[in-house]
Symmetry: C2
Subunit: 423 residues, 2 copies
């Protein structure tokens, strides 16, 4: 039954049925949570064998005692692994502790206050700094900008990446736009993969904006495919090399959602010139990362093939969860004109857009019925979704059974809010 074509009396009836179902959920005392983009227990179990791997292997092949101080860049073996994940050469990658969020934060902080390539290049000495935020996007990126007082400009996320016409136009007309957030593969939360054309255009932005512009390429889900033979993301550094914009690019990744969340290792990739400057900043705050944890990861994952084999075990656990979300969305909302959603082939989220103006109400209703959803607006800078429509669903942590229940509640709440909005 399509919402738009339903008569008032039929809508009334529909509402009555929905309210009945809704009270049943409320009374059943559910306590479910779709907010957390974190791995489930089964996924974490996949890496339990890491513990103990280091026995007798705390001296690296080149003779470095991994238990002692030193090695600001991380151990060569871990840098190599990061380079394979990010599509760079080893000299373009440093490996640090958990997490890539910390590395992005530190990079932004230093670019802002201390300069990405020396004090003369500090963003905050040039005026009011702005950053492009493809929306919906990742709240923790936005929080970094808020912390530093960098204002954000929304750019719409399309199916093949950010709206590049809008991006180029903005960058061309405002030299105080100093960069842009990107989650290029299985974008958080829409799950899209940036097309080759978009990657090329992003790589070319440095030619428009100049040397202080930084694309923060947060490749958090680069190996987090749900299916075999996944779509490939174009290698952005290759495009930058063609455009001569290598210095405009900062890449990050981590093993937080490969091995253990919070106990992984992180990678920052950049031109050697950028790394040389960033390294000097890192040296002030640290004598070097935890090399033992890096070695543990290298022994466990070995190389990119090892990573892919490991991720296929994750995928096996995650496929039924993502399928459960889609099943309920299609069955409950497929022909009703009550919103749209993505069906991602990887990553950690499903992005749902309600009828404009209803996201807050849907989330409130779901909460009342015992299903916690990410707060409305969380996927937008300053927590403000101008259309109040985007809801980020995180299906990785709950069990398939819990998801089955939670999604029934969710669909009911979407239907209820949608029907009520027409009455």
């Amino acid at each position: 039954m399509e919402l738009e074509k339903t008569s008032k009396p039929d809508l009334k009836n529909w509402e009555k049925n929905l309210l009945q179902r809704f009270s049943q959920y409320k009374e059943s005392g559910l306590k479910l949570d779709l907010t957390r983009g974190k791995p489930g227990t089964e996924q974490l179990d996949l890496a339990n064998q890491m513990e103990g791997l280091l026995k007798g292997k705390m001296i690296s092949l080149n003779g470095t005692d991994l238990r002692n101080y030193g090695g600001q860049d991380g151990i060569p073996e871990a840098r190599k692994l990061g380079a394979e994940i990010l599509g760079l050469s080893e000299s373009e990658v440093i490996c640090q502790d958990n997490s890539s969020l910390t590395l992005m934060y530190l990079y932004m902080l230093h670019a802002y206050y201390h300069g990405s390539q020396g004090p003369d290049t500090a963003w905050n000495s040039q005026g009011e700094v702005k950053f492009l935020a493809p929306v919906p996007g990742y709240d923790r990126h936005f929080a970094i900008c808020e912390e530093l007082g960098i204002s954000m400009i929304n750019v719409n996320m399309l199916d093949d990446g950010p709206d590049m016409d809008a991006v180029e136009n903005l960058v061309r007309n405002d030299p105080m736009i100093k960069g842009m957030w990107c989650v290029p593969k299985y974008s958080n939360p829409t799950g899209c993969i940036y097309s080759e054309q978009v990657v090329d255009r992003i790589a070319a932005l440095g030619k428009i904006s100049g040397p202080h512009f930084r694309v923060i390429w947060d490749n958090a889900y680069g190996v987090h495919d749900l299916f075999d033979n996944p779509k490939e993301l174009a290698n952005v550094m290759d495009y930058c090399r063609r455009h001569g914009t290598e210095d405009n690019l900062i890449l990050t990744a981590s093993t937080s959602k490969i091995t253990c969340a919070g106990a992984g290792i992180s990678f920052l990739g950049a031109s050697e010139k950028n790394l040389q400057h960033f390294r000097k900043r890192l040296e002030v705050m640290s004598i070097g990362p935890n090399k033992l944890n890096q070695q543990r990861h290298v022994l466990f994952l070995k190389n990119i093939e090892g990573v892919r084999a490991h991720m296929s075990r994750h995928a096996k656990i995650l496929r039924p969860k993502f399928a459960m979300v889609q099943k309920h969305l299609e069955e409950g909302l497929g022909d009703k004109g009550m919103g749209s959603w993505h069906n991602p082939e990887g990553g950690y989220f499903v992005s749902f857009d309600s009828i404009p103006g209803l996201a807050t109400e849907i989330i409130r209703l779901a909460g009342e019925a015992g299903v916690k959803l990410t707060p409305a607006g969380a996927t937008y800078p300053y927590g403000k979704d101008p259309d109040d429509k985007n809801i980020r669903l995180a299906p990785t942590f709950p069990s398939v059974e819990d998801l089955d229940q939670a999604m029934q509640v969710f669909v009911t709440c979407v239907q209820l809010a949608s029907v009520q909005s027409r009455l």
Copy 2:
């Protein structure tokens, strides 16, 4: 033979003998290093059993899955351990990853740019910020100030801690002095322990300076005693509570020189009010520390008694090394008027003061003879020792045999530079 009382001809002869010995060292192709304040291999071996301890123990007693995200403050068990080490209550301590240097850096950074208790309290909004630097001191403290553009004012380190008459006088007359570095036990490099009176006077500084002043109490060597029944350091937070200056104090410690250097866990202690503000800053850059490494440490060290038992095993390894340094200093320089030195009862360093003006030359000579020493001036802000006299010796990493050789060379170089300075 005392230098001052030696005649010119005797000095000439002395020089000749010393030059002969010096060339022998040069020719023997030594390659020794007394610069590195890092644990020796035997010390690191003491913690090898940590690896593997987590098997089957990755869920904490309160049910937290330590492999997953979350827990910004660190796990309760690790906070408790840190509280015991720092002499605080658990609610006054957070536990983070390696290292305490990083925590000090972040605290200083946020106090400077973002405010220790909200944006209104940011140091850099108040004018040109200054910090007190007891000298000789720790170069990495000074590097943090340099990075942030905080100017440093030298204060002499006496046998019972910083010269508090000078400190109080400076703080009383300059409101832009916003804090002071302290290594209160086995001070780096002099090895002194702050007396109870000094601790009391430091705790009272907040009453002179006001609410934005911060004592950075880097208790890096709090449990690093060489001998049984060591002198106790007074509990500075207790004194702060008496003076009502709890908010003026930031304490740090880590296990870097207890378990593994670079793969340890770190602690920051502060009033709950200070922690509440600092935590908000940390939340922007991290979803939480590596809880697995914290659990590993708790399982291995257990509690403060476990730490002390472990440190006594370190002491057994280190005593002969420190004794070897003292032996050569006493035998070679004991009655010669060529400098003075400390005989610390813990920590990682021996501080030597040459005749003023000779440190650079002694270090140069030692380098020529194959013994690397910490660069002259390293223990002073901006690398400038106004008297060019302090040399920091680090005896923990080399073997006793290497120390025996290196100290022979060192003593010869001190004698040679001293004799030549009188010719």
